[in-house]
Symmetry: C2
Subunit: 471 residues, 2 copies
């Protein structure tokens, strides 16, 4: 036997292994981005072409995003002769528009024609009517028909998410006939699939067989005898949030989409759902902070405009809070310590309320909160607010009493703290629950309402009690 090869000569694993310290094991590295920038600066087009030809569409999209505005145009010019339509699926919204503007309708149509129907719809649905028409006219008739049909389903519905490429066989077929069909019909089948759907003569779904199970069966068995009847069927008009819930809840990999009569239309696979889950979680986060529909690649003026609305609403609520303070000008004039201490009560209320609000909004999104436990959760949060309010009342009461050598002032701020943290717990749950019942997205509007309440109550309780007790 020969000796084992020394460490350095051993074959490399397919991808960097554990010796590789860099966290960015996968994806586009900053070094790659910089190298492409340098190549573009120095006009080494051939080298850039070589680099991009090796990249997955998702990595190409990252490269387009990260290369920056100075080099982006030149990079796209290199990609445009055979622009990979899949790149669009991975590009952030604002860059997608930018790239579409740079390409000719004919080039876009060529890229779209290569896509599966769900990706094509995902791209085209965001364009304006003129652009849509122009691209649709340049598509091959069959793709065009599928895309146009897909666009008839409501936005954010299963009908838009689903792919039309699927494998379905009649229930009277045998395993052997099905396997032969898969082997001969290669060109008409989707590249990857995980379930074979079984349909009756009306093309209604009667069940499914996962690939990993049909392979273990004898050729003579009828598919109708081994199918799983208990599958989750999605109607085309179902909201994508519902679809995401279904996949997450039951750990699905693919699910059939049917029309109102139960007839098989398409299939949704888990990779499409991962995007939806990502978007929905991100949506909650961004909406709660008042930055809906954004990404870091948006232009300055666009970004400014999108933030303005939320800040303007906040200005109005801040002025409302100020007018509460104005009611007590005379009191503050006599006891300036009130002006010093008053932001503390409002700020603690806002923070405690936001904690409760975030938990509530997330529980609503994850369907952990419903009519069956709403009362209990509201009561619990109000109680948590009161307990923490009492603890912080003791702390801030002592701090304020010693700071201004006035124990009555300590009692005033302590009382205001308890009131505001109780209100914060109550409103942190009631506001999102109320909005949800009114079918308003609680993530969007809750935070404004909540901080208005905690500011107004915080200032009013503190200054009002001060006017009553200290004057």
């Amino acid at each position: 036997m020969t000796e084992a090869a020394p460490e350095s000569e051993r074959p490399e694993p397919l991808r960097p292994g554990p010796d590789h310290e860099d966290e960015n094991e996968f994806g586009v590295s900053p070094e790659l981005v910089n190298a492409v920038r340098d190549d573009l600066d120095d006009g080494r087009i051939g080298e850039v072409e070589a680099v991009v030809s090796d990249l997955h569409a998702a990595d190409l999209a990252d490269l387009v995003e990260q290369i920056g505005p100075e080099h982006r145009g030149a990079l796209i010019d290199i990609l445009r002769p055979q622009f990979d339509g899949e790149i669009f699926a991975y590009l952030s919204q604002s860059l997608r528009e930018m790239v579409l503007d740079q390409l000719e309708p004919r080039e876009i149509a060529a890229a779209v024609a290569e896509l599966e129907s769900d990706d094509a719809i995902d791209l085209i649905e965001d364009l304006d009517a003129d652009q849509q028409r122009e691209i649709l006219e340049n598509l091959p008739p069959e793709t065009r028909a599928l895309v146009e049909e897909g666009l008839t389903f409501p936005e954010y519905s299963a009908g838009r998410l689903m792919s039309r490429d699927l494998v379905s066989v009649p229930q009277f077929w045998t395993v052997g006939k099905t396997l032969d069909y898969l082997r001969t019909e290669t060109d008409n089948l989707p590249e990857d699939f995980y379930d074979i759907f079984i349909v009756d003569p009306m093309h209604k779904v009667v069940g499914a067989i996962p690939l990993s199970r049909i392979m273990r069966q004898k050729r003579s068995v009828k598919v109708g005898d081994i199918l799983t009847e208990d599958i989750r069927t999605i109607t085309a008009t179902t909201d994508q949030e519902e679809v995401a819930f279904l996949f997450r809840q039951y750990g699905l990999v693919s699910a059939p989409v049917v029309d109102g009569n139960g007839r098989l239309l398409g299939v949704i696979t888990v990779d499409d759902v991962v995007d939806v889950i990502d978007e929905e979680a991100e949506d909650d986060l961004l909406k709660l902070s008042g930055v809906p529909d954004t990404d870091i690649y948006r232009a300055v003026l666009d970004t400014t405009r999108s933030r303005f609305t939320w800040l303007f609403i906040n200005l109005l609520t801040a002025i409302l809070a100020s007018s509460v303070i104005a009611l007590f000008e005379a009191t503050i004039e006599q006891i300036v310590a009130l002006a010093v201490l008053m932001p503390i009560v409002a700020s603690m209320g806002g923070n405690a309320g936001t904690q409760t609000l975030t938990v509530t909004v997330r529980a609503l999104a994850m369907r952990e909160l419903s009519n069956t436990n709403a009362v209990r959760v509201v009561a619990k949060e109000a109680l948590v607010g009161t307990i923490n309010g009492t603890l912080f009342a003791v702390i801030i009461g002592l701090v304020a009493g010693f700071w201004f050598q006035d124990h009555l002032l300590g009692i005033v701020i302590a009382s205001a703290m308890i009131i505001n943290l109780f209100i914060a717990g109550l409103c942190g749950t009631l506001i999102p629950l109320g909005l949800a019942r009114l079918k308003i997205d609680p993530a969007v509007a809750s935070a404004v309402f909540l901080t208005t309440v905690t500011d107004v109550v915080g200032f009013f309780a503190f200054l009002g009690l001060a006017a009553l007790i200290l004057m």
Copy 2:
């Protein structure tokens, strides 16, 4: 031909279709929860047993969660004779602990023995050492060995996520031999799988073949000739966040996990990754609001304690802001209008900064922000802050000038607004970027630093300028 059956007699689709108006198409309905409560109250154990025997483990977990503390014990007593271990995978953390406390170690071990090794590890890793030992001792030796080995991998690593049940065949096998192996070895194969991994004699992964592709091949073809070499291999020590990135980036359904020498250890499937993606997105949201590690089922005192820390830090920063105000007591004593207006500047700064912060934290998590574009993003956000600051300076300057009939006061608040919104944009990006560089999770600590800065700068700029200009 007979007439079409009238609407009501047509066979129902497998699951409620589009006529079904209720949004809760899937999962446990509030009606079901209430029915089970009533049955438990009236001692109709048999009816509860009938209901639960039909439910998927995920729905059972939802039922345990939503039924409420008064009925939970009774429900678990009904489930315990054949407690389905999969329920644990779907239960929220705090209820998982509660249920584990109610079951005997022997019952838990019986439930765990039924689980795939990744789910078993997910359950056991959170227990204390005594509980772990007790359950491990009650497991069948083979399961126990797998679980113990899994626990040797770092928390949140691919090694903990992976399942040991997979299908691998040597590269010299033919398609026919592989298919025969799948058909005869049914008992030793995982229930569902999507890829067949091809290994060399050292058990190193050399490639993979998706099931949907091997089925289309002739029996005589060698698997080594049709395998996909360009697969993404994950080392067992890789962080789960990295794994989620990989699945999301390339739309994977399963990926092989290898040891430091490239030898095949296990497989990660997309359903495990969906959970990770959910957790990570939720983590960012909850951490930004100061409520890490929480769920709505946590007990009152636990919840109070977990919120206290964050609120205490906020109290310290609020006191810091107050001490800035205290510097200007003499100024406020003479111009009380300052006390009325001063929260506006601080509040607008806090909100504008939070908008920027949220976008930045999310972009860091999604790896859209790196060294290659950090400078540009910081500059852009500072510019956006300055532009919005100028717009709001005009608005608030006019409002304050008219309100207090003092145009100099208007100029003071306008100037403070520009300064604070510029600082908000700058710090909303620099703070999370700085924390990320220091390897501190930017979602946890950013918000406290940011609001401290915008409060202190807001009060100092406004009151300081007032002292300079108005006195």
